[in-house]
């Protein structure tokens, strides 16, 4: 049994933060229904591959973040689409969204309206800067928030400019999904224990500041950029003879272990510089000093030694797993096609009859993959 068996999530999340939050809920056992509009699909579906043969291939980013979900195509701009959504809300537990602030209210599916359909609903609004404040409407990506949360101020080379994690990591988006999922489960506990419905206003910028919370204790100080760590005598990367970098942490108590090398940074740098990276890391490790060759993502993938973090599925695709391991694999299944499960969701969760579904499809309120399917 998984922790969130019997929980239904309506997932309006797009790109990473929202969709990845729902993916974690799916891994915890929830039935996650990805809802996209015929007029606005998840932009993560669009993938510009450099290979022409991949033209019709599903975006690997979308696939990695949306596996294990079902998909409903519903036009929320139509009043009848909003009515369908409210009926689904009345039979669900959670709504996840990361639209631009104000969009839900404009669509008539803001928190107060959702409460009328389901007094125990949990609405998770995952935004860049929060629901309120002068920056609430500012468009941001993860690295924008690193800048505005104080993290960029702390990241970079010592005595040099600040830096961001960049488009290939976009750190705030990743951690937002973990924290948001945890807060949603916490809100479910509150509702189960008799509390009212909950609107979670989750600001990625605030989370990013919280993750460096100790840095605000002495805000006027010079930022300790670089790879150093107050708990270590030395921590940095050193260039080896073969051009690879070796990451080394020398704890205060470990300095005597460097006796054969020398006890200055220059000594260690020179010694590593005359050895191949793997050999240097192994020798330091044998001496009891943590050391590792910095690896590329390609090398991490090739080794494929992880517990639950990633999954390799048939066909060779790599999907995100989970940052925790409950002893069972992450939710299986490919990411859904647009509107792939519209009919079964409307029937089983919404309680709509085939005739009603045909009518909704004919009027463009919902999209079904095969019109004949709704007509059967």
């Amino acid at each position: 049994m998984k922790p969130l068996d019997d929980i239904t999530v309506l997932d309006l999340g797009i790109i990473t933060a929202g969709a990845a939050t729902s993916a974690i809920l799916a891994d915890l056992g929830a039935d996650v229904i990805k809802i996209e509009s015929p007029t606005y699909r998840d932009p993560f579906r669009i993938w510009v591959s450099l290979k022409p043969e991949d033209q019709d291939k599903l975006s690997p980013h979308f696939g990695a973040t949306n596996r294990g979900k079902r998909a409903l195509a519903l036009n929320l701009k139509e009043p009848d689409g909003q009515a369908v959504f409210h009926r689904l809300v009345s039979r669900s537990d959670v709504v996840v969204e990361n639209f631009r602030r104000g969009v839900l209210d404009k669509l008539g599916i803001g928190f107060q309206q959702l409460l009328r359909s389901n007094p125990g609903i949990v609405l998770a609004s995952i935004s860049s800067q929060g629901e309120t404040g002068p920056n609430a409407m500012q468009v941001s990506y993860g690295s924008t928030l690193e800048c505005m949360a104080g993290m960029a101020w702390l990241l970079g080379y010592d005595a040099d400019a600040p830096a961001v994690s960049g488009v290939d990591l976009n750190y705030p988006d990743q951690v937002a999904a973990i924290f948001s999922a945890g807060m949603i489960v916490s809100a479910l506990s509150s509702v189960r224990d008799g509390g009212p419905g909950v609107h979670l206003d989750l600001s990625q910028r605030e989370l990013t500041s919280y993750l460096i919370g100790d840095s605000f204790a002495e805000p006027e100080g010079k930022p300790a950029r670089g790879n150093g760590d107050a708990a270590a005598a030395l921590q940095d990367c050193f260039l080896a003879a073969d051009g690879r970098w070796v990451a080394v942490t020398v704890a205060h108590g470990d300095v005597p272990k460097l006796e054969g090398i020398g006890t200055t940074t220059d000594d260690l740098e020179a010694w590593i510089g005359t050895h191949p990276a793997a050999g240097a890391a192994e020798a330091l490790g044998t001496a009891g000093i943590p050391a590792a060759v910095t690896r590329t993502g390609t090398e991490v993938l090739a080794e494929a030694r992880w517990s639950s973090a990633m999954r390799e599925v048939s066909g060779g695709a790599i999907l995100k797993g989970t940052p925790f391991n409950f002893g069972h694999p992450a939710r299986s299944g490919d990411a859904p096609r647009f509107g792939e499960h519209t009919v079964e969701i409307l029937e089983r969760l919404g309680g709509y009859g085939r005739e009603e579904i045909r009518d909704l499809a004919a009027r463009g309120v919902v999209v079904v993959e095969e019109p004949a399917e709704a007509a059967e």
């Binding site: 922790p3 960049g166 605030e206 708990a231 910095t294 391991n325």
Partner: protein, 374 residues
């Protein structure tokens, strides 16, 4: 090092002091990430630790809204735990304390700094609680007959030599993402791998508390968390045969100096036209740059052109334009500026006690903060 940054809005915050400028200025070694290490005995960590002695003593906090008010969470710290595992446990416990749980601490937690102790140790109770424990957070400590989340450096089935949080970032590929290709790879600040592991522990623990009939044991390894954070690299490595690697000045997104500080140059396909208007330089209008793939390949040249324009503009001037045209640029704020920024103030993002500002739990619950108060 650039000149002293001036306050975000018209110098409101004044100059930033650099207490170790004398150390910084005496040594240079651009290849290493920490130039001041050069020529010193291996005690650079002590230099950093010295700064932490000036922070204030521990704050005891409790949550005004007790979401988990009936829960007893036990942090089990052990001498066998690394600092990273201990901090991950403490960070998870800190979140539960902010949510109103009674968080008890058994054993001696390890912290990388005194300021980390202040932040992570708040609102907790020393010693084992009386009665049943709702959930235990542990590393190498002996298990209890209670639901638990176990944290470790490596997955249980994976052996190996001694690791640090930093070397696990190297093994997970995270170190290869940030920095200049000609210089040392860079880690994220403030023990982020341990913090992310603490978040994962929180989510796993919350799920266990929600459903006592579900699995009673969850495992989290820092290596797995690092690989999970770095998922885009692995997905792209599978698709393209090559993973992204740190590009420094050649990165599509990077930090650019402006007249009074720095700006995060962050933009997507749809923002290109507006960005060109902001910069107003004909060199960006060449057809070559109409395609994103070409722009990515020429990011260094584009950043240099943008940098020329930004050098004459303040953060406020740049952000005024960016806000109007919805370009996702971001001003780099110092930690002081973050605390005093209007967005933080309006949302009550920081609570201050005894002169120390601490970020509150980053969520509003039905419009209310889960306020941390003494």
């Amino acid at each position: 090092m650039r000149g002293v940054p001036i306050g975000y809005r018209g110098g409101r915050f004044g100059a930033v002091r650099f207490p170790f400028a004398n150390v910084k200025d005496t040594v240079t070694n651009p290849r290493l990430s920490n130039a001041r290490h050069r020529g010193y005995l291996l005690d650079a960590g002590r230099i950093l630790a010295e700064r932490d002695k000036r922070v204030h003593p521990k704050i005891v906090k409790q949550s005004a809204m007790k979401i988990f008010g009936d829960k007893k969470i036990l942090e089990q710290h052990s001498d066998g735990d690394t600092t990273a595992v201990s901090e991950a446990i403490s960070f998870c416990g800190r979140i539960f304390a902010d949510l109103g749980a009674a968080v008890h601490v058994d054993g001696t937690p390890r912290y990388r700094s005194r300021s980390a102790r202040t932040f992570l140790g708040s609102g907790k109770i020393e010693g084992v609680p009386s009665g049943a424990v709702s959930l235990s957070l542990r590393g190498t400590a002996d298990p209890l007959p209670a639901p638990e989340v176990r944290l470790s450096m490596l997955p249980r089935e994976r052996g190996g030599s001694r690791s640090s949080e930093f070397t696990l970032m190297a093994v997970s590929g995270l170190l290869d993402i940030v920095g200049d290709p000609a210089r040392a790879p860079l880690s994220l600040p403030a023990g982020q791998l341990a913090r992310a592991a603490g978040l994962a522990a929180f989510t796993a623990a919350a799920a266990q508390l929600f459903n006592p009939d579900g699995p009673a044991h969850a495992e989290i390894s820092l290596l797995d968390v690092g690989i999970w954070l770095n998922w885009k690299s692995l997905v792209l490595a599978r698709e393209n045969g090559v993973a992204p690697s740190r590009l420094g000045p050649g990165a599509e997104w990077q930090v650019i100096a402006c007249r009074d500080g720095w700006i995060g140059l962050v933009y997507r396909e749809n923002d290109w036209v507006a960005l060109k208007e902001l910069v107003g330089d004909a060199r960006l209008d060449v057809p070559l740059y109409d395609l994103r793939a070409n722009r990515k390949a020429h990011s260094a040249e584009i950043a240099a052109i943008v940098g020329e324009r930004f050098a004459a503009m303040s953060r406020e001037e740049i952000m005024d334009f960016a806000s109007k045209r919805r370009i996702p640029l971001g001003p780099v704020l110092t930690t002081t500026e973050v605390i005093e920024d209007e967005q933080s103030i309006v949302r009550g993002a920081f609570v201050t006690h005894d002169g120390i500002a601490t970020p509150r739990l980053p969520v509003l619950w039905n419009g209310r903060p889960l306020e941390t108060t003494p």
